[in-house]
């Protein structure tokens, strides 16, 4: 019995295997991608068609230029709002895994336990990226201009993925705290909606209700939207990027460790 090799944890390989499984499920069941890909585009077109012509900025610039300025402001907000509202699906998928016989199977295997969480997040990164690419592709004919061309677009996609992942990790921890899938389905979207709307995603902080302003200023959604706006404008990145970087690191590390602890807890 002692001749069997000692078991070594392989968190990276196991995470990749779990991510591969989740992506394969999407590939074999393409219907599951319809909602996450169609819904953001519908919302983008609706938002821009309804609000995109609002005058914005200095009246002296003229109504046409002002409306263009609001689109330029609004579309980064919609990209981040979409990532924020997609993030809870990571937590829900994790709870679905946890409640199935597959979770027991995973726990009985000599595999890295954190891989179930990390693999889920890694697969969802692909969803976040697909959404961001699609939104940028639809936003261009709607009048959204990105300075720096493809590199600028790539930077926006990368940032959206990082931001979505941070919130996906947070949603995983919340979901595991709630424990019950049906409860989580009803509860997880409230903090996401609050994060998305109590921010500068749709309007500058100074235009929000007074009580919202301090929350909106601290909100990572505000920082992320600001970074995307700066990327689209082609400069002035330093301040919002540092703030966003701090948020992302904190959101991935702290809820990530708490979620992993909760997933690993013996029962």
């Amino acid at each position: 019995m002692m001749t069997a090799p000692t078991v070594a944890a392989r968190p990276a390989r196991d995470s990749a295997l779990i991510a591969g499984r989740n992506l394969r499920v999407l590939a074999k069941n393409p219907g599951r991608m319809i909602y996450p890909l169609v819904q953001p585009v519908v919302l983008l077109v609706m938002f821009v068609s309804v609000f995109g012509n609002l005058a914005f900025g200095t009246p002296a610039a003229g109504a046409h230029a002002a409306a263009g300025a609001y689109r330029q402001f609004l579309i980064p907000g919609i990209i981040i709002e979409n990532a924020t509202l997609t993030a809870p699906t990571t937590g829900l998928a994790l709870l679905r895994d946890a409640g199935s016989g597959l979770a027991d199977r995973f726990r009985s295997l000599p595999m890295s336990r954190v891989a179930v969480l990390a693999g889920r997040a890694a697969a969802d990164a692909v969803v976040f990226a697909a959404q961001a690419v699609l939104l940028l592709a639809v936003a261009a004919p709607l009048g959204f201009r990105v300075g720096g061309g493809l590199a600028g677009d790539a930077a926006i996609v990368g940032l959206t993925v990082a931001f979505g992942l941070a919130l996906a990790v947070l949603s995983s921890w919340f979901a595991l705290l709630l424990g019950d899938q049906e409860t989580a389905e009803r509860v997880l979207f409230f903090p996401a909606i609050a994060l998305a709307f109590i921010s500068s995603a749709f309007a500058p902080v100074s235009d929000l209700a007074g009580w919202m302003q301090p929350i909106a200023r601290a909100n990572p959604v505000t920082a992320a939207a600001a970074v995307i706006r700066a990327l689209a404008a082609g400069g002035g990145l330093a301040a919002p990027l540092a703030e966003l970087g701090a948020w992302l690191a904190a959101l991935i590390l702290i809820p990530g460790l708490l979620a992993a602890r909760r997933w690993n807890a013996p029962r």
């Binding site: 074999k28 016989g101 027991d104 009985s108 295997l109 000599p110």
Partner: protein, 248 residues
């Protein structure tokens, strides 16, 4: 010289969930190469014991050793040597049978080529040829059970732990599953299983443990248990010892 290490050694194990004592001092030994059946009414603690042995749950008190490794302190060593077929299929319904076997085999540590070969061997051996590329959600109950068992066997475990492997299957599927289990036994795989079908335990198990209220109330071979209780069948032994008319 025979290996003196038992496949499973359970000593003084207690486990409570809140006020409910699921296990209240269980001792049990499973010899390597044997097939041992855990019997008992619903709620007797069978699944709790199986989950502790498979490292899914930890005992509050007592020790469990699997092939010499402590389940609480060396769970990774235990996991590398066991296969678990739980009460609920541990499968991804939205993937094909082959994808499931590949995933579980690779997570169990097999290389890609080895996993592919083993998956092909098991699908053929378990009568799943032709269905391996179909999504599991299209499988019948019997096919699902066989695939679940195949998944547990990907890494050729020394010990196979099965929680009610034949529950819910029609007689044909049950017989098919037992044929597979007997072949595994012939190859030297140790098995511990729970079942509500006492005639299966009577026919196939080397040793039986009867659990009730979290305690072992009887153990021995089927013949010894029947002789001891002066009963014609294990059903009668079960009813006499548990005082439980509703055995299901």
């Amino acid at each position: 010289m025979t290996d003196p290490t038992p496949a499973i050694e359970v000593a003084g194990v207690k486990k409570a969930f809140g006020r409910v004592k699921a296990l209240d001092g269980v001792d049990l030994t499973v010899r390597q190469g044997s097939l041992t059946a855990l019997l008992g009414p619903n709620g007797a603690g069978k699944t709790t014991l199986v989950r502790i042995i498979a490292t899914l749950s930890r005992p509050d008190q007592g020790t469990v050793r699997v092939l010499g490794f402590d389940v609480a302190r060396q769970p990774a060593e235990v996991r590398a040597r066991i296969g678990l077929t739980g009460q609920y299929a541990g499968l991804e319904e939205a993937l094909s049978g082959r994808d499931n076997l590949m995933l579980i085999g690779r997570l169990a540590g097999l290389r890609r080529a080895a996993a592919r070969a083993r998956a092909a061997e098991l699908t053929a051996g378990f009568g799943l040829s032709g269905a391996e590329n179909r999504l599991v959600k299209t499988y019948s109950g019997g096919m699902r059970r066989r695939l679940d068992l195949a998944a547990s066997l990907m890494a050729r475990p020394s010990l196979l732990v099965l929680d009610e492997p034949t529950t819910g299957l029609d007689p044909g599927s049950r017989q098919q599953l037992w044929t597979v289990l007997m072949d595994l036994k012939a190859e030297g795989t140790t098995m511990l299983l729970t079942t509500q079908y006492l005639e299966e335990a009577d026919r196939f198990a080397d040793l039986l443990y009867l659990l009730d209220h979290g305690k072992v109330i009887a153990s021995g071979t089927a013949d010894a248990l029947k002789a001891g209780a002066k009963a014609a069948s294990l059903d009668d032994v079960f009813l006499a010892l548990t005082g439980n008319a509703a055995a299901g």
